[in-house]
C-alpha cells in the first residue's frame, strides 16, 4: 500500500528526517511512535506532499507520489493533521462537504450519512460552527472530514492529543473499528501503550530515524523500549 524509501527532508536546510524507511500493507494499523519533536509530523507532511523531499521516494498504491497535497489526496492518501485544522468559521456539515472537494465528490451525500452514523454526536451539530465544538468533537470532525475523501490510507497525527482519558479510549476504539472495515491506518502517536494495543506493527522514531520496528507484540516486549518509553 505505502512504501517509503530512505526519505530525507527538513526545514530551510535543517534536516529533520534523516533517511526513513517504512511501509504500510493493506488492512494494517501501523503505529509510528516517538517522543515530542522527533519528526513524526514532519514525516506526515512529507507523505502528504506539504513538504518536498531532498531525497528518497514514496510509493503509494503502486505509483510514485508526485509530491503535492493535491496528488496525495487524488491518490487516496488522506492525512488528518495534528491539531485537527478543521474550518472553524464553517458549519460541521460544510466541513464534511469540503472533505470531498478533491476526491469522493460523487459519493458525497452517501458518505456524509456514513460519517453521521459513525459519529452520532456530529449529526446533532450539523449547523454548528466547527470552531465552537469541543476538542473531542473537533477530532471526530477532522477524522470524519478525512473519511469523506474515501481514503485508501488514513494517516492520523496524534488523534488522542488533548483528549480526556475516556475520550482517548473512545478514539482508539474508533481507529480499530475503522480498520476493521478494511481501512489501512498509519497511527502517529506519543501514546505508546494504547497504540501498541491496537496496532499490527510499529516503528519507533528517534531523532529523524527509525530505531526500532517490528510487530506490535515484539515492540511491546522489547526491554529497551520499556525502559525508554514506559519507564519500567
Amino acid at each position: 500500500m505505502l512504501e517509503v524509501k530512505n526519505i530525507r527532508t527538513g526545514y530551510g536546510g535543517v534536516e529533520v528526517l534523516r533517511g526513513i524507511d517504512l511501509s504500510v500493507a493493506s488492512g494494517e494499523i501501523v503505529a509510528v511512535l516517538g517522543a515530542n519533536g522527533v519528526g513524526k509530523t514532519t514525516l506526515n507532511k512529507a507523505l502528504s506532499g506539504l513538504l518536498s523531499l531532498t531525497s528518497g521516494s514514496i510509493i503509494f498504491d503502486g505509483r510514485e507520489l508526485a509530491g503535492s497535497p493535491i496528488a496525495a489526496v487524488e491518490a487516496g492518501l488522506i492525512h488528518v493533521p495534528e491539531g485537527r485544522k478543521i474550518f472553524p468559521n464553517m458549519s460541521v456539515h460544510e466541513n464534511l462537504e469540503l472533505g470531498s472537494y478533491r476526491r469522493g465528490r460523487a459519493g458525497r451525500a452517501r458518505n456524509i450519512e456514513r460519517v453521521y452514523e459513525t459519529f452520532p454526536k456530529l449529526r446533532q451539530r450539523t449547523t454548528q460552527m466547527a470552531g465552537t465544538l469541543s476538542g473531542g468533537e473537533q477530532q471526530m470532525l477532522a477524522i470524519g472530514r478525512g473519511m469523506m475523501a474515501e481514503p485508501k490510507l488514513l494517516i492520523l497525527d496524534e488523534p488522542s492529543l488533548g483528549l480526556s482519558p475516556l475520550l482517548v479510549e473512545e478514539m482508539f476504539d474508533l481507529v480499530k473499528r475503522l480498520n476493521g472495515e478494511g481501512l489501512p491506518i498509519m497511527l502517529v502517536e506519543q501514546n505508546v501503550v494504547q497504540s501498541l494495543e491496537i496496532a499490527h506493527r510499529a516503528y519507533i522514531i528517534e531523532n529523524g530515524q527509525v530505531t526500532m520496528s517490528g510487530s506490535a507484540a515484539e515492540i511491546s516486549g522489547n526491554p529497551e523500549l520499556k525502559r525508554a518509553y514506559l519507564g519500567l
Binding site: 488528518v80 485544522k85 472553524p88 468559521n89 469540503l98
Partner: protein, 290 residues
C-alpha cells in the same frame, strides 16, 4: 428646518449611492478576508474599469450597462492572472510583501492611465443620465436606481457563490485554515487568484453602474476607496453582509450630513463614523473576533 420630503429624498438618494459604495467595498473586504491584506491597487483597478467602460462607449458605442457583460469577465480574468502570475509568486508567502506589491501595481496602473489618457476628466452622458422617476412626492434618479438594483444583485450572487458552491466554500476555508484546506486537496494558489478575480469583477460591475452619472480620470479611484475602506471597517473586515449594510449606512450618512452641513462637509460624517467605530467597536458590525 428641512421639510420631510427633502429629508426623505436625501435618505433615499443616500441609500442608492451607498449600494454602489458597498459594491466597491465588497471586493476590498473579500480580498482582505482571504489574503489578509488591504489591496492598495483597488482604486486604480476601479479607475481602469471605468476607463474601459468609457472607452467601449466612445469607441464602439456600447451602452455602459451593457458593457458590464464585457468588462466583468475581462477584469475577473485580469485579477485572476495578476494574483496567480505576479502577486502570488512575488509575495513568497509573506503578507507584508503582498501589500507592497499591490501598492506598486496601483502606481503602475495610475501612471499607465495618465500616459494613455492624460489627467483630463471624462464622462459619458446620455438622456438617461438625467432621467428621474417620480415616486409620490419624491424624485429619484433612474441611473442611481439601476445602480442600487445592480449592486444588490451582485451582492446576492456573491453571497450565493460563497455559501452554496464548492468554490465559495473553498475560499472561506482558505481564509481561516490554509493547512487544513491544502490537506483536502484545495489549491490555495487557485483560491487566492479566484478571490482576487472576484474582487476585480465586482469593481468592473461598479464601474458600469457608476459611469452613467459619474466621471473618470486616472485618480478617480482614490475617493471611492477611502469611503470603501471606511465601509469595510464599519461592516467588519472580511464580512460580505457587513460591506452591504456598511455601504448603505455610509451612503445615508454622507447624504444627510451633506444636506445638513453643506455639500463640502458631507464627508465629515463619514470621518466621524470611522473614528467612532475604531473607538467603540474595532471589529465592526459583523466582524469576527481577531
Amino acid at each position: 428646518m428641512y421639510s420631510p420630503t427633502i429629508l426623505i429624498e436625501a435618505m433615499i438618494n443616500g441609500l442608492l449611492t451607498g449600494a454602489i459604495y458597498a459594491l466597491i467595498a465588497l471586493g476590498l473586504t473579500l480580498v482582505y478576508g482571504v489574503l489578509h491584506i488591504i489591496n492598495f491597487a483597488h482604486g486604480a483597478i476601479l479607475a481602469s474599469a471605468m476607463f474601459a467602460v468609457w472607452g467601449l462607449n466612445v469607441l464602439a458605442g456600447i451602452d455602459p450597462y451593457l458593457s458590464i457583460l464585457v468588462v466583468t469577465p475581462i477584469f475577473f480574468g485580469l485579477g485572476y492572472g495578476v494574483q496567480r502570475l505576479v502577486i502570488g509568486p512575488a509575495a513568497k508567502g509573506d503578507d507584508g510583501n503582498i501589500l507592497l506589491i499591490t501598492l506598486g501595481i496601483s502606481i503602475f496602473i495610475e501612471n499607465a492611465l495618465l500616459a494613455g489618457f492624460g489627467s483630463d476628466t471624462r464622462s459619458i452622458s446620455s438622456d438617461f443620465s438625467f432621467s428621474v422617476i417620480e415616486a409620490g412626492p419624491f424624485l429619484i434618479s433612474s441611473p442611481r436606481l439601476v445602480g442600487f438594483a445592480g449592486s444588490l444583485v451582485v451582492t446576492a450572487l456573491l453571497w450565493f457563490i460563497m455559501s452554496r458552491t464548492d468554490a465559495g466554500k473553498a475560499i472561506r476555508a482558505v481564509a481561516k485554515e490554509k493547512l487544513g484546506a491544502s490537506l483536502m486537496g484545495i489549491d490555495v494558489g487557485h483560491v487566492y487568484a479566484l478571490t482576487f478575480g472576484l474582487g476585480c469583477a465586482a469593481l468592473a460591475v461598479a464601474a458600469g453602474l457608476l459611469m452613467p452619472t459619474f466621471y473618470v480620470n486616472p485618480r478617480v479611484g482614490g475617493a471611492f476607496v477611502n469611503i470603501a475602506f471606511t465601509i469595510v471597517v464599519l461592516g467588519g473586515m472580511g464580512s460580505i453582509p457587513g460591506a452591504m449594510i456598511g455601504g448603505l449606512l455610509i451612503g445615508l450618512v454622507e447624504s444627510l450630513s451633506g444636506l445638513l452641513l453643506g455639500e463640502s462637509l458631507g464627508q465629515i460624517g463619514i470621518f466621524v463614523i470611522f473614528i467612532l467605530v475604531l473607538l467603540l467597536k474595532p471589529t465592526g458590525l459583523f466582524g469576527a473576533k481577531a
